[in-house]
C-alpha cells in the first residue's frame, strides 16, 4: 500500500486546562475524500491547523505528504473555517498573489485564476473588489485560492458554510472533480449530512477524541437498524414481526423484532392484500450514528 497522504499518530494539543485534541490517530489515503467530522468545538479545526503548521502540537506525530507539517505548503491547498480575503483588492489580483505565495509564477497564477473564475461563473467579477461580491461569491473565490496551485492535498474546513443549495452542489461537484483528478480531499464539517454523500472514509471527533473511524459504508452497516421504510404508512398494530413503527412525512419506519426479517414482513403485507408504493431497507444518518455513539459514551462514563 502506498504511503498515506496524511499520517497522524497520537496528536495532542491543550490550552491551559482545556484539552482540544486528545491523542488522535488516523490516516488519509491518496485519492480519497476523507471526512473529519464532529460537532462545533470537537477539535477538528485545531487538528487541521496542526496539520497546516499554523499551530504546533504539544505532542504526537503528523506527516503531510510524507513530511513534517509546513514542509510541503506549496502542495497543500487550504480553505480555513474563518473566511476572509483582502476586501479592498480586486478578485483576480488577490488570487494571483495567493497563487504566487504557493510557489506559482505570476503568469501561471494569472492563467489559472482566469480558468477557475470561469469555472465557478465569476469570470466577469475578476476586476471587481472582493467587498463588491456577495458572500457566496466570496466563498467561491476563496475556494479557488485553495486549489489554484493544483495541490496534491486539499483541506477544506466547513466548505459549505453559508452557501445556498445551488452553490453547495457546485462545490460538491468541484470536490468530486478533484477526487477524479487524483487529488486527496479532506473535508471538515459539523453538519454531517452535507458531507456524508461525498466521503469514503471518515473520522468522527467528539471532545478531542476520535469516536468513530473507518469506511463510511461499513460504519453505516454496523449501525444499521433491523428496519425498513414503507409508504404509504400501514396499520401494523399487533403484528408479531413489528417491534415498533414510526410515521413521519407520509413514510413509515418499521423496526422488526430480532427474529423477523424484511422478507417475512413483505410476505405478510402481500398476504393481507395491503398496497405499497415503497419498501426499502432503512438507513441511518451520520447524525443518528453520532448521537448513538456519544450517548453510549456518556452511559459508559
Amino acid at each position: 500500500m502506498a504511503d498515506p497522504v496524511l499520517y497522524v499518530d497520537q496528536l495532542y494539543k491543550s490550552y491551559s486546562s482545556l484539552i482540544a485534541v486528545n491523542k488522535i490517530s488516523f490516516e488519509v489515503q491518496r485519492g480519497e475524500i476523507f471526512g473529519l467530522l464532529g460537532p462545533n468545538g470537537a477539535g477538528k479545526t485545531t487538528t487541521i491547523r496542526m496539520l497546516m503548521d499554523i499551530i504546533a502540537p504539544d505532542s504526537g506525530t503528523a506527516l503531510v505528504l510524507g513530511h513534517k507539517p509546513g514542509a510541503m505548503r506549496h502542495r497543500v491547498g487550504y480553505l480555513p473555517e474563518e473566511r476572509g480575503l483582502y476586501r479592498g483588492l480586486k478578485v483576480r489580483e488577490t488570487l494571483v498573489y495567493l497563487g504566487q505565495l504557493k510557489g506559482m509564477s505570476k503568469k501561471d497564477a494569472e492563467r489559472k485564476s482566469d480558468e477557475w473564475l470561469t469555472r465557478v461563473d465569476l469570470k466577469d467579477w475578476g476586476k471587481n473588489k472582493i467587498q463588491e461580491l456577495s458572500r457566496g461569491m466570496q466563498q467561491k473565490a476563496q475556494l479557488i485560492s485553495s486549489v489554484l496551485h493544483d495541490p496534491d492535498l486539499i483541506i477544506l474546513d466547513e466548505p459549505f458554510q453559508g452557501l445556498d443549495p445551488i452553490n453547495v452542489e457546485a462545490v460538491r461537484s468541484i470536490i468530486r472533480e478533484l477526487r477524479d483528478a487524483g487529488k486527496t480531499v479532506v473535508l471538515s464539517a459539523h453538519e454531517m449530512s452535507q458531507v456524508e454523500v461525498l466521503c469514503e472514509r471518515i473520522a468522527l471527533i467528539h471532545r478531542g477524541q476520535i469516536v468513530l473511524y473507518g469506511n463510511l459504508k461499513e460504519i453505516k452497516k454496523q449501525f444499521a437498524p433491523n428496519a425498513i421504510e414503507i409508504a404509504p404508512p400501514l396499520n401494523l398494530e399487533g403484528w408479531g414481526e413489528v417491534a415498533k413503527a414510526e410515521t413521519l412525512d407520509g413514510r413509515q419506519k418499521v423496526y422488526l423484532t430480532e427474529s423477523a426479517t424484511p422478507r417475512d414482513l413483505l410476505k405478510k403485507i402481500f398476504e393481507r392484500g395491503m398496497m405499497l408504493d415503497r419498501f426499502e431497507m432503512a438507513t441511518v444518518s451520520l447524525d443518528e450514528i453520532f448521537v448513538k455513539v456519544v450517548k453510549g459514551d456518556s452511559h459508559e462514563q
Binding site: 503548521d53 499554523i54 505548503r73 474563518e82 476572509g84 495567493l98
Partner: protein, 420 residues
C-alpha cells in the same frame, strides 16, 4: 526562511499600500504646501520676502537715530555714519521714526556713563528691536564713544572684538582632536553634523509613526478580515513578518525620498548642495546616523507588527503600540539638557536602552562627540536586541494571529515566550 516568499510579501505590501489614497495624500501634502508657499512668494514679487526679511533680520539698509545727552557720540564719526544719524531732540527723532526715516531711535541720557541705561524706540514689536539692541552694530558704537579719547585704536579694536578663539578638544588621553574653528569649513562641519543628526532623528521619529504604523494597520486589518490564516498556511510567520517589515520600510523610505526630492526642487537645488556638503564634511556622523536609523526602524517595526497581531482591532493595536512609541519620544523631552552637556548621565543611560538608543544617540551626535564606548556599546546593544525582539515577536505573532476577539494576557505572553 524562503527569501523568495519574503520578497513576494514585501513587494505586495509595498505595491498595494503605495497606491492607497491615504498614503498618496500624506506624502504629497508637504510638497504641496511648499509649492503653495513658493507660488505665494513669487506672486507677491518679493513683497513676501521683504516682509519676512523685515520681520526676522536687522534693517541693515536703514539707519538708527541717536539722541545723545552725553555729547560723547555726536557728531557721528565717519565710520558709523552709514548706520547712525544724530537728532537734536527726542521729538525730532521720534518723528523721523514715525516717518520711517530711521528704523529705531536710541536715547542716550546724561547719566549713561554711570548707569549704562539707554532707551530704544522702534516702529513695531518684532525681532528687529531685539537685534538692534544686541547687534554688533550698536555695541561698538557705544564702546567707541566711551573709549575713543582714552585708548589707542588697537586697544579699541581689541575691546570691540576681544576674542579670536582657537577651539580644540581633548580626548580621554589628553590628545587634541579638532583643528582650529576659525576654519569656516569646520564651522560648517559642526552645523552640518547638527543638521544631519537632527534631521535624521526627526525622520526616524516620523518613520516610527508613519511606515511602522502602516505595518501595524496591515497586520491588524488582515487579522480583522480573517485573511491572515490563509497567509500563514502559505508562508511561515517569520517570512510574513520579515516581508512586511521590509516592504513597509521601503514605503516609509519612499515617502521620505519624495519629501527630500521636493525640498531640493523647491529650493532650486540649494537643499541638495547643503545636504551634500554636510554629508561630505561629516561622513562619520552620516554613517552613524544611517546605522541608528536602520536599527531603530527595525526594532520599532517588529514592535508594531507584534502589537498589530495582539490587538483585537486596529484601534486596540494602535493603543498597544502607543505604549512603546512613547519611549521614542523620551529623548526629545530631555533634549534641552543636551545643549549644555551632550554626555549628561541620563543621556548616556538612555543610549544603552534599546527603545531610546537610536533617537538619543542621533541627538547626541548632533551636539557633540559622544564617547566611543557609548557609540559602540549602543550599536552592539541594538544589534543584539533586534534578533531577540524578532524571535519573541514572531512567537507572539504566531500565537495571537488567530485569536479573534480575544487578546493574549501578560501571563499568556510570558508563557508563549517561555515555550521553546
Amino acid at each position: 526562511m524562503n527569501n523568495k516568499m519574503v520578497w513576494l510579501v514585501a513587494w505586495h505590501e509595498y505595491s498595494t499600500n503605495v497606491r492607497r489614497p491615504g498614503f498618496i495624500f500624506g506624502t504629497l501634502i508637504f510638497p504641496a504646501l511648499g509649492l503653495i508657499g513658493l507660488i505665494v512668494a513669487t506672486f507677491f514679487s518679493g513683497q513676501a520676502v521683504n516682509i519676512l526679511r523685515n520681520q526676522f533680520t536687522p534693517d541693515t539698509n536703514q539707519k538708527v537715530g541717536v539722541v545723545d545727552a552725553t555729547h560723547l557720540y555726536v557728531p557721528i564719526e565717519t565710520r558709523f555714519a552709514n548706520r547712525f544719524v544724530a537728532f537734536d531732540s527726542e521729538d525730532a527723532a521720534k518723528s523721523a521714526l514715525a516717518a520711517s526715516q530711521v528704523v529705531a531711535v536710541v536715547i542716550i541720557p546724561a547719566d549713561y556713563v554711570q548707569t549704562g541705561a539707554v532707551t530704544i524706540y522702534s516702529r513695531n514689536a518684532n525681532f528687529s528691536t531685539a537685534i538692534v539692541a544686541d547687534s554688533a552694530a550698536i555695541n561698538p558704537f557705544l564702546i567707541n564713544g566711551l573709549l575713543k579719547a582714552k585708548v589707542d585704536e588697537t586697544t579699541l579694536t581689541r575691546v570691540n572684538r576681544p576674542m579670536n578663539a582657537t577651539r580644540l578638544t581633548l580626548d580621554a588621553d589628553s590628545k587634541e582632536q579638532k583643528p582650529a574653528t576659525n576654519d569656516p569649513r569646520n564651522a560648517f562641519s559642526f552645523v552640518g553634523g547638527i543638521i544631519i543628526s537632527y534631521a535624521v532623528a526627526l525622520l526616524l521619529f516620523v518613520s516610527i509613526f508613519s511606515s511602522a504604523n502602516y505595518l501595524l494597520r496591515s497586520i491588524s486589518e488582515e487579522k480583522e478580515n480573517r485573511v491572515i490564516e490563509v497567509l500563514i498556511s502559505s508562508v511561515s510567520p517569520m517570512e510574513l513578518l520579515t516581508g512586511k517589515v521590509l516592504g513597509l520600510g521601503a514605503l516609509g523610505l519612499t515617502q521620505m525620498l519624495v519629501w527630500i526630492a521636493s525640498a531640493v526642487l523647491l529650493s532650486g537645488g540649494l537643499a541638495a548642495v547643503a545636504v551634500g556638503l554636510a554629508v561630505a564634511l561629516s561622513p562619520t556622523t552620516f554613517v552613524l546616523t544611517a546605522i541608528y536609523f536602520v536599527l531603530g526602524y527595525l526594532l520599532y517595526a517588529i514592535i508594531m507588527a507584534t502589537a498589530g497581531s495582539l490587538g483585537t482591532s486596529v484601534r486596540e493595536s494602535q493603543q498597544i503600540a502607543g505604549l512603546f512609541s512613547f519611549f521614542a519620544s523620551i529623548p526629545w523631552m530631555i533634549n534641552g539638557f543636551l545643549f549644555t552637556n551632550p554626555n549628561v548621565l541620563i543621556a548616556r543611560v538612555l543610549s544603552y536602552f534599546p527603545l531610546t538608543a537610536p533617537v538619543m544617540m542621533m541627538l547626541r551626535l548632533a551636539l557633540g562627540q559622544p564617547p566611543i564606548e557609548d557609540i559602540i556599546g549602543s550599536i552592539v546593544v541594538m544589534i543584539l536586541t533586534v534578533p531577540i525582539f524578532l524571535w519573541g515577536g514572531a512567537k507572539i505573532f504566531r500565537t495571537s494571529l488567530l485569536m479573534y476577539g480575544k487578546r493574549l494576557s501578560i501571563k499568556e505572553i510570558i508563557s508563549v515566550l517561555r515555550n521553546v
